[in-house]
Amino acid sequence: MNCEAVEEFLPAHALGALEGEDAAAVEKHLKGCPTCRLALDGHRLVVLNLPETVPQIDPPADLKGRLMARIDALSASAVAAKPLEAPGVARRWFGFPGQRRVQVLIASLSTVSLFLVGWAVFQTLEVNDLRDDNVEMASEIRKQWDTLAFATADGVQTVQLVGTEVAPMTKGSLLMDLEENKAILMVTGLTPPPKGMTYQLWLWKHETTPASLGTFGNVRNGYVMWRFQSPISLVANRFWGVTMEPRGGSEQPTGELVLAGEGE
């Protein structure tokens, strides 16, 4: 389909009313044609404004209370999920000893819980697609338990990573077992790296040059959960950062900083 033919279909495409072969042909053309994508944006602007034509009516006064109760219940169940048999699982997976100390990292725990709620939501969506693939589901659930166990274990330090100007909606937590040099990086709101590129985690022990902790590129629905054994000691670090680098990683950062965090 050429631009002229596609142009005819763009209004319907913007309205979501195209179907079948027409929809597929338009989609295919749009991928390779910035001019038609721009024209589509013009129609989308109209469509995005259509809710404005609706008479405005206030929702019932008690709806907000019901919503907040749902949110509190969700948060409570996520925190309550952290628990009992978790240390055993953690020992098996990470091999670190020690008892749980729930009050430790209580602030970071809420971040972890939130991450897992989001993670669980999209895992559930994906796992539903797999239908009866119970093995996959069991494996995902176990990974979540492991992460919670890890987050609540003794000697685990957390660093919050914040998105820089180039990725303001991106957030992350880096959980580190300093004794074992093991860590989990959890990120939300991250754009998948383009083909041939990957993300690389760095740490600065001194102000000058950073050391690489490894690369990760498996971003699904904006989420990353990357477990790794650090090649260098994680003790006494000052600054962490994530950059985008060519696949395989770089010796020193070459891309812009996407996420950054500071030690205590």
């Binding site: 319907a12 179907e19 809710p51 008479p55």
Partner: protein, 203 residues
Amino acid sequence: MADSDSSGPGPAAPTEVELLGLVIRGDREALSALYDRFSRQVYSLALRMVENQSLAEEVTQDVFMTVWTRGSTYRSDRGGFSSWLLSVAHNRCIDELRKRRRRAKLATISIDEMRVDPSTGGDEVLVAVLQRLDRETIVEALNQLPPPQKQVIVMAYFQGLTQSEISDVLGSPLGTVKTRMRLGLHKMRDLMAVERLADQNEL
């Protein structure tokens, strides 16, 4: 639409993107503030689409649950926060409507039932004034379309019908539906662009 609207109740009122940032960190009060700002738009759209109060309430709750659990999927470079929020609501309503259509046969809708009401229907004068220009422009643009063109646009957007479904419901040839949709949206876009240009000239 009043995206990135920093002219709220006071000079220190946080923008919706700032509030969303707090929501992503688990700040319940920030979600409460976003609800206060946008629940009316979300609920109104849902009510218009699903035409059922309790279902519209359910959709509204789900939309803000999505903000709570998946707010980080919002991308500011792809449009304003309220557009994103209303897209989430729209998609959720389309799902409901498709479910419902699978269960029941769709009745033909008359053009009269699709009258667009330009009133704000409430007493929030401040909000109404802030949004008035945009709202009036878009409502006028839609109302200026020939009724058959308006009808197919309303059926596609608010009822989630495809072109061939609209053709079936109206008993009109598919080609006619396609032409009406194309002409209608083109005309709306042009009318809105003219209005925007006029506004800029006044400034």
